[in-house]
Structure formats: C-alpha cells, structure tokens
C-alpha cells in the first residue's frame, strides 16, 4: 500500500516515514500541499497523512483541491491537527473520506489508521 506524508516539519516527516516503512508501507514525503498534489498524480497513493498549517499550500487547500478533482474518498486522508483549532474541524468533517487526528502526534496511531485503510481496501 502506498502512503503520502505531507508536513512542513522535517522531524514529523522523518518519524512518520520511519514508522510507516517499518510497518511495510511504501512511503513518499512532501513538505507542502502543492508538492503533495503533484505526488498524488505521480505516485498514486491510497492514503495521505497531512498537516494543516504549511507554507505555499496548506492542508485545507490541499484537501479541497483533491475533493474538487474527484480524488476523495477513494484516496483516504488523515488530517493531523491541534485540538484548539475548532474552526478547522468543520471543513474536515464536511469532506468525504477525511479523518481528523489530534496532536500531539502519535506515530502508532497514524500507523494503525493507515493499516485500517488497507483493511477496508481489501474488503472492497
């Protein structure tokens, strides 16, 4: 299964890539929404894990662009966010196939979410 990780913090990219690769997934990384959009086309992931606040293009714009391009919910998206950003939640819930995960980040939870996506994929 192919997973794309998008975050502007190198530490987050590093830890998620390591965790997901150890779990046997094929991982590519992007540092902003625009790069992620390009990699969705090139790499063709089944799951995307993204941050919200990023330079160039943020997570919200990324998700909305993917939705507009008809990529959702076939591409499952996990948006990682801070609990305080309540306003952010509304738009996340309005999009199909998009799930929220609260910070501080737990790589284990991200791995389990990706694994659950893999299961649903097999079931379909």
């Amino acid at each position: 299964m192919k997973v794309l990780v998008c975050d502007d913090h190198a530490h987050v990219r590093r830890v998620l890539q390591l965790q997901l690769e150890q779990a046997g997934f094929e991982v590519r990384i992007a540092s902003d929404g625009l790069e992620a959009l390009r990699l969705v086309e090139e790499f063709g992931p089944q799951a995307l894990v993204t941050d919200i606040t990023m330079p160039v293009m943020g997570g919200r714009e990324l998700c909305e662009a993917l939705h507009a391009a008809g990529k959702l919910p076939a591409l499952r998206v996990l948006v990682v966010t801070s609990r305080t950003e309540r306003v952010m939640r509304d738009w996340v819930e309005a999009l199909p196939g998009v799930t929220l995960l609260e910070k501080p980040l737990s790589p284990r939870q991200v791995r389990d979410w990706v694994a659950s996506c893999a299961c649903t994929e097999v079931g379909e």
Binding site: H9, V15, P55, S82, K103, P104, P107, R108
Partner: protein, 378 residues
C-alpha cells in the same frame, strides 16, 4: 453611597463621616484655645485632602463647575481626555472646555448641585461616563492563544512521537536511536526557549518588566556574547568574528535584556548562514549613539518578508528557514528591547547574499544617568 453623592453630602454637613472638630470652650485658657483651634484646622485640612483624593482618583472624568458653569477643577480622568494636560485652566466655560478635549468624553452621566453647610449654592459637580478602554478584542485574544498553543504543540509533537517510537522498541539501529534522542533533547530546549521568550514578551507588553538600567560597557558584553555563540558557529562550520572600535561609547541600559536582543540576532545569523559562511559583529560610536551590527553571509530575507520579520511568530516561508528550529519570537523580542531603550533595530538584506541587522542605542552615559536620576553601577 456613590462618591459624588458623598461629596455633596459632605459639603452640606461638614461634620458627617468625619471626626467632629473639637468644640472650643470659651472659658478655656488661651493656650488651650489655640491648641484646640489648631487641632480643628488640622481636621479640616485632613478632610479637604481626603475629599480631593476621592474626586481626583475617580474612574469617571469629573469637573467642578462654578455657578456660571465654568470649570473650576478637573480630576485626573478628565485631564486625561487631553483637553489641557496637567495644567487644566480654570474659569473656562464647560462648552469650550469640551470643544478643546482631544478625546471626546462620554455623555454627562450626573450633575450634582453642590451647596455649603448653610445651603448656599456653590456650583455643580459634573461627572461624565467612564471612558471605554480599548483592550484587545476577544477575537484577537482567541487568535493569539490558538497561535501560541500551535507553536507550543509543535516541539511537543516531535517529543511525543520520537519518544513513542523509542519506547515501542521500533528503532533497532543505534545511530538512529542516537539521532532520536538528540532530536528530543533539542526540541525540549526549543520548547523551554519558546516559553521563556513568551514570558519575556508578555512582561514587556504588559509593562511589568521594569528596565534595570546601569552603565554598560559594550565591548565587555559583546565579547561575552561572541564567546557564548562560538560553539554554535563551530558546529555549523561558520567563522565568527568581532570588530569593535576603540573607545566605544558607554550606554545606560539593562544588560540582561540587551544581551537577549544581541544573542537572538547572533543566533539567527549563525542559524541562517550556510556552512563555510561568516558572521561578523561590529561596534562603533556615532554621534550620540552606539551602533552594533550583526552581519552574515546567509540566505538573506526577501523584500516582501522584511516588513513582517519583527512580528510575533512570523517565520520566513522558505524551506531553508523552515528546516531550522525557531520560535518566531526572537526578533519581536529584540525589537521591543531596543525600542524600550529608545534605540532602533533595522536591517539590510539581499536574498542569497546575506543580512545585516543594525542596533542603535542612544549613548552618552552621563546625560542618560542624569536624565534618569539613577545611580552609577557596573
């Protein structure tokens, strides 16, 4: 009883609410009569001072008017409306007094006629509504808190995720384990620095951080700060040098805060300069000023970002900036500190070539010391 009502009440009945002036028995010996008179006078003075204080310190702007509606006195809140500064003129008609106010007062809330003990009308106490103080809006506070929590959660996020992987035994390679421990350590330091900067900034914002000014020798401080930054520069393969002019002017400044400002600039210069580059600290005296420059051969700051560089939490958008740990508070703090000293912090930058930050502090320690009436120190 409101304070206006109590003033009115007090004027009608001079003995109310106060120790009664001693009655002076006419049969008393002259010495005793004089003593009693002095005591009564003392009580009266005390009373006047007390009611003046009540009038003066009221939160609402208030003026005393004579029978012709001319202003006899204005309290502190009324003077703060900017009509006449501390030297409020007397016998100006109220209408004109209001026209001259820089800040239009709230509508008149109460007019209390004032009369003396015999019921003779003296004038009017005129009280305006309490001025609306413009603090930050709820929305601005909410936005700021959300921003702070986001900034605090970022290093916390890294600490949690890296430690979780170590705890789960997911990392077998000893080199990777070492890397993970290093990241946790660095991010804990960043979190501590962030909290420290945030506290300093909030103290500066609220004005509760009083400057501890003393005579400051810039060469000694700069030497100290350059030495402290050397390990960071060496680790990043950057040459750090200092060129200090002889006979630098002494400034009258808060050493700890100035050190925070300069070390923030130094640490930024080192952080945003690629390996093999150079960071130079220069200091010289200019007409009535001490000028300190921190120059680097780093990545530079695009013109569009220069306008925002001193804003709290602002960080450059480029990948080169983002890959460095930063709080986005260092420059905001430095600028506030320099500003508090009556100085200026400016920059000249060319992307790809480097940046020079220029600090300018008013110099001439003797003049400053005299101006502040402060003792010599250091």
């Amino acid at each position: 009883m409101s304070w206006t009502a109590s003033i009115r009440h007090r004027l009608r009945r001079p003995d109310a609410g106060a120790p009664a002036p001693a009655t002076i028995p006419s049969a008393a010996p002259p010495d005793a009569r004089l003593e009693a008179l002095l005591a009564a006078r003392q009580v009266q003075r005390f009373e006047i001072a007390r009611w003046r204080a009540v009038f003066e310190r009221g939160a609402e702007p208030a003026v005393l008017l004579n029978r012709a509606d001319a202003v006899l006195a204005a309290n502190r809140a009324a003077r703060a409306l900017g009509a006449h500064g501390e030297e409020a003129p007397v016998h100006v008609p109220l209408d004109e007094w209001l026209r001259r106010a820089a800040v239009p007062p709230q509508p008149i809330q109460r007019r209390e006629p004032l009369a003396d003990a015999q019921g003779l009308e003296l004038g009017t106490l005129c009280v305006f509504g309490e001025p609306v103080t413009e603090g930050p809006s709820e929305a601005a506070i909410g936005e700021f808190l959300s921003h702070i929590s986001h900034e605090l959660k970022s290093p916390l996020n890294t600490i949690r995720s890296y430690s979780e992987m170590l705890m789960d035994g997911s990392i077998d390679d000893p080199e990777t384990r070492k890397e993970f421990f290093n990241v946790i350590n660095e991010e804990s330091c960043r979190l501590a620095k962030l909290i420290e900067n945030l506290l300093d900034l909030s103290k500066l914002d609220s004005g509760s951080l009083a400057l501890q000014r003393a005579r400051l020798r810039p060469d000694a401080l700069l030497g100290e700060l350059v030495r402290a930054a050397e390990p960071q520069a060496r680790a990043r393969d950057i040459v750090l040098d200092a060129k200090l002019a002889a006979n630098l002017p002494t400034v009258f400044a808060d050493k700890d805060l100035v050190a925070v400002a300069i070390s923030n600039l130094l640490s930024n210069a080192i952080k945003y300069t690629p390996a093999g580059g150079r960071v130079s600290v220069r200091a010289r005296g200019e007409a009535d000023a001490l000028v300190i420059e921190v120059e680097d051969t780093g990545i530079g700051i695009p013109a569009a970002e220069q306008a925002h560089i001193f804003e709290k939490f602002y960080r450059g958008a480029s990948a080169e900036v983002r890959k460095q740990a930063g709080t986005g508070l260092g420059l905001a703090l430095a600028q506030q500190i320099v500003g508090l000293h009556g100085g200026q912090l400016t920059l000249v930058s060319q992307p790809g070539r480097g940046t020079t930050f220029r600090l300018q502090f008013p110099a001439g320690a003797r003049e400053q010391r005299e101006a502040f009436g402060l003792p010599e120190a250091m």
